[in-house]
């Protein structure tokens, strides 16, 4: 018994260690965002300081807010488009014969797996000819390459969980398939719709690669802007940390909102939903 207790307390020590290693680096950056500039460079690094909003104020006055807006617009447009296209398709796939659905499922899995660089060159060339380079519309369109398959993949189990008997009952009552889908099935899958939309938004929001390759100044997104601080404006760590904090803020807020469904979306195909 005593041995069991020792190994249990050892386990808690391990857990505590994991917690520190996981959270400390992230909290350090957030702390830096609120540190006065002279304290950031201080040696040894200061744990206690008078918090300041000066770095955020600098950002508010700069171009960064426009990039932040671009991020919001492209992520939202991509999400809405992917939901409008993907949700009905996911419903049909959930009701389809297993074999055909399996084959389509593989194609959708593939489109999640292909590295973004495979899309970068074709889209870059196509956008050069069509003038979509450095536009919000072009960026939102390229986000569909991953968000559409994400929506289909995430929504399917939600629809599969709705008993088909409900639609059958609706159709016996004379309702058409659209009515059955929109008025009977969709309301039941609403939590799934909300979670999927948020996750879809986050994936687009987190994108760095496409925005780096397909935008310059007009449609530049927040992640690219923050990285720009690293490259071109010397080492203004306070500004960089504040920018990073702003970029992660929506992600953290939304993640807390959907943490129950998050598990399903992040494991993307690897476990049963």
């Amino acid at each position: 018994m005593a041995r069991a207790r020792t190994s249990d307390s050892l386990a808690w020590v391990g857990i505590a260690l994991v917690l520190v290693v996981t959270l400390a680096p992230f909290l350090w950056l957030v702390m830096m965002a609120f540190k006065p500039a002279e304290d950031i460079a201080a040696w040894p690094p200061r744990l206690f300081f008078t918090p300041t909003l000066e770095h955020f104020a600098t950002l508010l006055r700069s171009d960064f807010m426009r990039s932040f807006g671009n991020s919001l617009v492209t992520s939202t447009v991509a999400t809405v488009a992917a939901m409008v296209l993907g949700v009905p398709a996911a419903y049909v796939l959930a009701r389809m014969e297993r074999r055909a659905a399996r084959r389509l499922g593989f194609l959708i899995l593939l489109s999640r797996m292909v590295p973004p660089i495979a899309f970068a060159v074709p889209f870059f060339l196509a956008y050069r000819y069509t003038g979509l380079l450095d536009t919000l519309a072009g960026l939102a369109l390229v986000y569909l390459t991953f968000s559409l398959s994400l929506v289909v993949w995430m929504m399917r189990p939600f629809f599969a969980a709705v008993p088909p008997a409900l639609e059958e009952a609706a159709s016996i009552d004379g309702a058409g398939p659209w009515y059955a889908f929109l008025r009977v099935v969709l309301p039941l899958a609403l939590p799934g719709v909300a979670a999927t939309a948020i996750l879809c938004f986050l994936y687009a929001w987190n994108d760095f690669f496409f925005a780096l390759v397909l935008t310059r100044t007009e449609a530049r997104t927040a992640p690219v802007a923050v990285v720009g601080f690293l490259n071109y404006e010397g080492w203004e760590w306070g500004k960089i940390a504040a920018g990073g904090t702003l970029v992660m803020a929506p992600v953290l807020i939304f993640s807390i909102a959907v943490r129950r469904f998050l598990v399903h979306g992040l494991t993307a195909g690897a476990v049963k939903g």
Partner: protein
Amino acid sequence: MADTLAMASPAAGRATARRRAPDAAQRRFRRLALWPTLAVLAAIVGLPVLYLLLTSLTPFTLTQPGTESDFSQPLRNYMLLGEDGRFWNSLWVQAQLSLFGVTGQVVLGTTIALLLHRRGKVAEQLRGILLVPMVLPPVVVAIIWKVLYTPDISPVQWIGAAFGWEMPAPITDPDLALASIIVADTWQWVPFTMLMVLAALQTIPDEYMEAARIDGAAPVAILRHVTLPFIAPVLVVVALFRLVDSIKAFPLIYILTEGGPGSVSEVTNYYAFLQAFNFSYLGYSAAVTTVLVLATVLVSWCIHRYGPAEADHG
């Protein structure tokens, strides 16, 4: 579905007959709901991949007009790949990044999952908190580690100095650059393995554990003969998923080391990016990328074929 039912019983047959007309509407609905999505996917995923393949057969460079449709030596790029030392180096770097990254994530993630696989409110809350790195934007993760790896402002350096250790600047040291990327990548993705393994652990029937314990099996023996065999399939899937994602590694490398020093941390994905967007050799970059896509298709097929039945819904 309706047809099978119809054959099963005459009563059901009558029911289907009554529903003939709505059935046509049903089919129209399915077409309308499914086809636009498949068409869009074909246009934005299928066409670009096809275009990529075609471009890989040309010596396309942006500075020389006409090269985009020059198919006179279609396999030239692939031939050049064979002699390109930097390409082979990038594959080697990729192999190291994938091997050490994925192994580290699977081992650490499994260990943490085993530690946290316990009842109680605290453990439950902790599981949620530990997911934070995984949801952060990759750019933010890269910045976090840039701070930790930059000597002047890094708290890690300071802790090292306090113990009297001479700490190198990892991202500018050729021996440590790749390792520092692997550490950052592992930090972000250990939670993923943890999450998946925890889910798998919850499916182990209590009776198995009970039986082993009653038989007097030591905890290590239980782990080896009951727990690990049970979660093994999940570990395979997790490893394959992380393997595919490690081929996509980009923001960490772009922000932390830019592939350097020299090309010690230049993975194939990054090399393809440089060829296309720094050197403008789009045709050659497309050939490099095609190799990557083939590797991804192979791994995806393995997931589809050997993964649990649920994994195929991708």
